[in-house]
């Protein structure tokens, strides 16, 4: 079955086409359009409603106003939370890359027996929901606080775990289309040490997978609520939620801004993915493209 030419349904227009075929084609198009419009409405109306809500004036019949948007900088806790979450996003991306990428390369090259173990450990957080993890993390974080002080930035330890499944898939997809053994042997025979092999030979060849991983981490960290809130840390989502009690308008304005930012991030990611596929067209994509995190809900 594998050698069948990979044509997508719908792209093919066979020369012989009966009337019945054309009719079912038309019917399909009607259904398609209906589904797409319904989906568009379902997904866009709540976002539009948030935007509408965040620009409401006070009082009945009041004009549209950007008061809530302008008020964002006047909440110091909010600005602080934005800063902390951005810092966490950077720390988590760097940490997960430094921890996971070299380990995966090393294991694939030198410890193939450990391959399945690493995969299992990386995908394990998918079966341990964040709400469960936080129950067990609470005692662990007593020690973290003891050693590293009480800082919201400590959350990066937990966030690396949350990012692992998505990071693993992104990196694995990148490594599947790279002949690491040949690269490593070539570099080794030219006298390179293992650190050089990993950081200067293989890592640059994985650049788009590394960027993918970093962007996914950023998206996940900026949206994280469960662990921060139950460990009593004030990150962006927790602060937006708190603010919701004081001023729904402002917190919804921030939420809209964040959503737009995330969308831009993921669009960037999809374009990166496309560029990569164009680069390696000859090689069949063995691994599925990394899907976006779906855990935090």
């Amino acid at each position: 079955m594998a050698q069948v030419t990979a044509t997508r349904p719908g792209e093919v227009t066979s020369p012989s086409r009966s009337g019945a075929n054309a009719r079912s084609r038309r019917r399909l198009n009607v259904i398609r359009t209906g589904v797409l419009i319904a989906a568009g409405l379902f997904f866009l109306v709540p976002i539009a409603a948030m935007f509408e809500f965040s620009t409401r004036g006070t009082g009945i019949g009041a004009a549209r106003t950007l008061t809530y948007w302008r008020a964002i900088p006047t909440y110091p806790e909010l600005i602080g939370a934005i800063e902390v979450s951005l810092e966490l996003a950077v720390i988590t991306s760097v940490a997960v890359l430094l921890l996971l990428a070299p380990t995966m390369i090393w294991v694939k090259l030198r410890l193939p027996r450990l391959n399945r173990v690493i995969e299992f450990l990386c995908l394990l957080p998918l079966t341990i929901p964040a709400i469960v993890l936080v129950v067990g993390l609470a005692p662990v974080y007593l020690w973290v606080t003891y050693f590293f002080g009480d800082s919201t930035l400590n959350l990066w330890f937990a966030y690396v775990i949350l990012v692992l499944p998505y990071a693993y898939r992104a990196l694995d997809a990148g490594m599947a289309v790279l002949d690491m053994h040949t690269l490593a042997e070539a570099a080794r025979s030219l006298g390179a040490g293992w650190l050089t092999v990993i950081f200067r030979v293989i890592a640059p060849n994985l650049s788009s997978a590394l960027i993918n991983t970093a962007l996914l981490s950023v998206a996940l960290v900026l949206g994280e609520f469960t662990i921060a809130s139950l460990l009593n840390y004030q990150n962006l989502q927790v602060e937006i939620n708190n603010l919701g009690q004081a001023s729904a308008g402002v917190s919804i304005a921030v939420a809209v801004a964040l959503l737009i930012f995330m969308f831009a991030l993921l669009i960037a990611l999809s374009f990166l993915g496309r560029a990569r596929h164009r680069g390696v067209q000859a090689i069949p994509t063995a691994a599925p493209a990394p899907s976006a995190p779906a855990g935090e809900a």
Binding site: L28, I131, A292
Partner: protein, 278 residues
């Protein structure tokens, strides 16, 4: 060769402390009370309020998974019948990526702004003589949660189901037609049998996703424990009764059991799909 193992130590150490240890704490301390082996926490799971929350969680997850799976599959089909590298497909995939994890505070706010007491749709319909809350406000009940969860379940279904639909070759349809089959025959004997395992698998994944979700419900419902994750919040944040400090761990263990069973079934179905999805 033994030295090569050192390379994996930092990773294994980190995962050991921040993933395996917490899981072990939950599993072991669910069976402990005041430092001694005890079944008191596990027995607490049979209390009415806990059973109710588990039932509610299962109902919520099942309903939102089925709705999400059906509509997500429809949407994925609408996308896949278009051009494979077209604008529609790229933007739908990107949007699904964002929306599948848009759950949480933002999503709760979005629905408050849409169908909350002063929401866009609520106000619009009220102005036109329709009161969606004539029989009481249902947004903060299980029904409301099902609707809100659908918002991230459908995009997740699109992401998970698209590869399966991509695997369906147009040649199979041509073969059916060549052999004298109709469109109905094609769906009845080729497409549906092939797509059933990935569809069921994706539904299970959606179930686990809804079952594990916490942030959306927590932001929407600030008190009480209608579903298990909110019960865990109560157990973690309220005053602990002496000897009952590990109830949260028992609840968490219950969740692990449910999610593990569901994800194992998912993995089995996934393996079945992988046979032809190449």
């Amino acid at each position: 060769m033994p030295l090569a193992w050192l390379g994996a130590v930092p990773f294994l150490g980190f995962v050991g402390i921040f993933l395996l240890l917490p899981t072990a704490i939950v599993t072991i301390e669910a069976f402990a009370s005041e430092g001694r082996l005890s079944l008191i926490n596990i027995r607490e799971l049979s209390q009415g309020y806990v059973v109710d929350s588990f039932v509610n969680s299962v109902v919520l997850s099942t309903a939102s998974a089925l709705i999400g799976a059906v509509f997500g599959a429809l949407l994925a089909y609408a996308v896949v019948t278009g051009r494979s590298d077209g604008w529609l497909r790229r933007s739908t995939t990107a949007a699904s990526g964002v929306l599948a994890q848009a759950g949480g505070v933002t999503l709760a706010f979005a629905f408050l702004a849409t169908i909350g007491g002063e929401g866009l749709i609520t106000v619009f319909l009220r102005d036109h003589g329709v009161d969606i809350y004539a029989n009481g406000v249902w947004l903060y009940e299980l029904r409301g949660l099902v609707l809100v969860y659908t918002y991230f379940q459908v995009p997740l279904m699109v992401l998970v189901f698209l590869p399966a639909l991509d695997g369906v070759r147009v040649q199979w349809r041509e073969a059916t037609v060549t052999l004298g089959g109709t469109t109905w025959d094609y769906w009845r004997h080729v497409a549906v049998p092939l797509l059933t395992p990935p569809f069921l698998g994706a539904t299970l994944l959606l179930f686990a996703n809804a079952f594990s979700a916490y942030a959306t419900a927590a932001a929407l419902i600030t008190q009480g424990g209608i579903i298990v994750p909110l019960q865990i919040r109560t157990a973690l944040t309220s005053e602990v009764l002496l000897g009952r400090e590990n109830i949260g761990k028992a609840l968490a263990l219950g969740m692990i059991v449910v999610v593990t069973v569901v994800m194992t079934l998912y993995a089995l179905l996934q393996r079945r799909t992988a046979r032809w999805l190449r």
